[in-house]
């Protein structure tokens, strides 16, 4: 089946291909429906859609390739004049319900319930007063649910500041209350605050852009393969997924086949070209993490067969990658730091099956990787394996089903990076986690609650996602399991420290251009 032509002037840009701007502001607003509508009327002309962002990023990446600039620097190379002012927004459950628009709540029960109600399901503390409990959140606490979430982006920090001022003025003029406003900044090498490059692995969204469907939304770095039973890749390790998994109104991924689309059921017009947005403000306690790694290392090295490992080795196994992003499954012994070629070198691996060497359409040869079905290279509990088991079966069924639990991650760090030795500083820093998906309940929540926070899912006796999991204390802590040989012994290490603290968030729906008009049309 040919890939669908995406309605690129109707889909908000942060859904696909992503704003990706190095400077972003997340703003949460609350107020009456009329005030929400007044602001949306003003924001409508400012919204950035997929087509514009796609054209911009294609040009940026082309220049980046020619000038060998990556990450934040690639924006500098293309920036001119005043800088860009990009805006996307999403609406909470309450204003939609007040407007009589029921489709999003019917499409996702968790959206209707809201993040505060679902917070403990994600592993957040149950006891009020405990760090991370929803009652203490800086945004999205139960008594102050955001009705609108704005995401502003720019390639220039000063432009963003000015843009934010203008939008906040418009918001207050419309009668909305400012609940939260925070700046996110892409860090050097796209690291997160623990010092690991983030965002290397994303699903390759199928679909084309342009009237004649001339441009694939996701660049195809590999020639199409003729094998119809295995996953198809847009780039090494980047599995192509049908767009209906993220955007309403398109074919979804068949749960029983890697390549076949699942026919889309009839979709309410308000949902078409829209997507559910999850926002989680996750504070990262860098000092606590570093200290916990030292404690975990002491536990692990007490087992004779692990007495040769060090902190770098253990941290990399908790993540599944070295700080540069290099996967431990491929780079077993040390961090190569810069990729010996493109970043694709850091993504060409699977867990259950060996992956062959491939050559990209541009002629770069990307080495393959050995299989690791016993978790000897990349432990089952490693963060990247827990949240994306790639080709592995899970407790939800075969590997084809695993492709239906993917997210489009659009997060960005906030706060100043910690310096070495700042273990005890009290600075607030972390990740403004944002993901887009068709189903909050069936994607984001399922992989968080059922995989990250479980000691046995998705692959067996795996241990928790020690890095990001939120297993409550008193329940035996979070465990990681390590082995040198398939038959064991299996060494369990455990921590009761929390270094990721949820401090806010919310569930929203990112409407299409058409849906925004429906939302506003209800005014009359």
């Amino acid at each position: 089946m040919p890939e669908p032509v995406l309605r690129a002037n109707n889909i908000q840009a942060n859904v696909a291909p992503g704003l990706r701007m190095p400077h972003q502001q997340i703003i949460a607003l609350g107020g009456e429906l009329a005030a929400v509508r007044r602001l949306v009327v003003q924001l409508t002309p400012l919204v950035t859609y997929c087509a514009e962002a796609f054209a911009y990023h294609e040009e940026r990446l082309e220049i980046a390739k020619q000038t060998a600039t990556f990450g934040r620097e690639s924006f500098t190379a293309i920036t001119s004049g005043q800088g860009r002012r990009w805006l996307n927004f999403a609406i909470g459950a309450r204003p939609l319900a007040d407007a009589g628009i029921a489709a999003p709540a019917q499409a996702d029960r968790s959206f209707a319930l809201g993040l505060p109600a679902r917070s403990t399901t994600l592993g957040d503390p149950k006891q009020a007063g405990t760090p991370g409990h929803k009652s203490g959140w800086v945004v999205g606490a139960p008594d102050a649910p955001p009705d609108l979430l704005l995401i502003l982006g720019s390639d220039r920090a000063d432009t963003l500041l000015d843009f934010v001022d203008n939008v906040l003025l418009a918001a207050t003029t419309a009668g909305l209350q400012l609940l939260y406003s925070e700046t996110g900044t892409r860090l050097e090498n796209d690291e997160e605050h623990f010092g690991f490059r983030d965002g290397i692995s994303q699903p390759g969204v199928r679909g084309t852009i342009g009237d004649d469907g001339a441009f694939p939304l996701t660049r195809r770095k590999l020639a199409p393969s003729t094998d119809n039973t295995s996953p198809e890749f847009s780039a090494p390790g980047e599995v192509l997924v049908w767009p209906g998994e993220f955007i309403f109104g398109y074919p979804m991924q068949d749960p029983n086949h890697f390549r076949r689309p699942l026919p889309e059921s009839a979709v309410d017009p308000f949902l078409v070209d829209g997507s559910f947005l999850v926002f989680r403000r996750l504070r990262q306690h860098v000092g606590a993490f570093r200290q916990a790694v030292r404690d975990l290392l002491a536990q692990l090295t007490a087992f004779g067969e692990f007495n040769d490992v060090n902190e770098d080795w253990l941290q990399a196994r908790l993540v599944g990658r070295w700080p540069s992003g290099a996967p431990v499954q491929v780079f077993k012994d040390a961090d190569p730091r810069d990729p010996p070629g493109s970043l694709d070198r850091f993504n060409n691996f699977a867990f259950r099956n060996a992956v062959e060497q491939v050559t990209t359409v541009e002629g770069e040869t990307i080495p393959g990787a050995a299989s690791d079905s016993d978790g000897l290279l990349c432990p089952f509990a490693a963060h990247i394996r827990k949240v994306n088991p790639r080709d592995a079966r899970t407790n939800f069924g075969p590997a084809t089903q695993t492709q239906k639990l993917r997210l489009l991650r659009r997060g960005i760090p906030y706060g100043a990076p910690a310096k070495n030795g700042d273990d005890d500083d009290a600075a607030d820093r972390g990740l403004l986690f944002i993901s887009y998906q068709r189903s909050i309940r069936g994607q984001f929540e399922l992989l968080t609650q059922d995989w990250m926070n479980s000691p046995i899912n998705p692959e067996g006796s795996t241990g928790h996602d020690v890095l990001v999991g939120q297993v409550r204390l008193g329940g035996g802590g979070r465990t990681g399991v390590f082995a040198r040989q398939s038959a064991g012994p299996f060494r369990k290490i455990m921590t009761e420290r929390d270094w990721i603290e949820p401090t806010g968030g919310g569930y929203f729906f990112a409407p299409s251009r058409q849906a925004i008009n429906i939302f506003l049309a209800e005014i009359t």
Partner: protein, 440 residues
Amino acid sequence: MVASFGAPAFIDDLGPGPLAAWSAKVHGWFRDAQAGLPASGRLYNMIDSEAPDAAHALIPWNGFPRKFTLRWPTDVERRWQTAETIVTADMDGRPAPYFRRQGTGFVPRLLPFRDQDEYCEWHTFRGAESGEIERIVFTSENPEYWQHLAESDEALLLKLYRDLISTDVAREDLFFNEDVFIRGFSNGQVVPLNLNGKYNPLNRWNTHNGIMHLTHPANSLGAEIQLAADATVLRRSSAGDLIADDGDLICCAAYGGVNRSSDPTIGGRINELVRGGNAVTINDPVGLYIGEIDLQPIEPPGGISAADCWKVVRGNGADRMILRAEFALPEGSGFRLEDVFVGGEPLRFGAQLAELVTVVIHGRGFGKAGQAPTANCEAKCCRRPDIPALQQLADLDGVCPDINPVVEVPGEENFVLTATDRDADTVISAEELPNPYSRV
């Protein structure tokens, strides 16, 4: 090696004689399954052979039926309700394989069961008058064990039913008092076996009015052992390649339910172990087990913890061998179970908890030299045109039906539960009587 097989979770119901008889039964199922494989087969049993370096492999899957989640991915309420409906035929229209005589042949004797086919079942006990939830009970106990218990110690059977379900249970409630037939064997011939006077595994205290053990026709230990055996055979595609994908394997070998979380996962893992050069088995004590429940999303009222409400009644949680567990508020709490919040909303269905349950089997394997048996495919999968997210097994040379690019979703008014009695009038011969514990 072991001298004998233990009762599931080493539960201590049985005296030495009945326990030895149970071991012999399990041993027999393994040997039958092994006998169906070539001499180079990779299934072993722990009584006859074992290697000192055999390793444990925990195989987990979700307890809530995947078929309902695939069928109603967004309509959570509907799948909760449907999963708790007692039926006489499952979602595909298949009744339990019990029959009554009609003329010279047999027609289905429709008996009730739970359409919960992931080797984990639950029952929501509600007050007769109030309709309020009193407790929710989960089981992974296989029906063969209870059949054995009924044959071994009728008094104990009755005591356990009374202790665990209701003091109102009467002996006659648990045994057939009519002619009901299943497939039996005599002198190597298939013969109808009359169960009149024998234990009725689908009695009302194990269906409409309670729960003691698994009831879905596919949820049996014998079927599980046979699935393990069949999954040890490596499979080749039409192109001659060894099949490694779990979904492709189960469609090719037809060793279980293709729309479940369980069967593709179990079979896929076993086949993977064999592909890796291992002989495999199911660990002693052979059984199906609840591995864990995630209590984190559960918020009881009044300072009560979720752990205070979850009680393992049979088996044990520490070894991930839970046979029976119960969710109820502590006695005298003064609250109702409807006051408990699960995932941010009041508890109304046991299904809300079932979605938090992980079921497991304990696999075991050791390295074994030589070539494992290999076979070509016996079947393939086609999508169901009415629900393309679901598959059905088909003949290799059959043509799969066309799938419309847009599927019409039935509205609330015209929706009909597909579990029907449609086969009730089909007369079959004694030779055609199906195995009471089929896998599909």
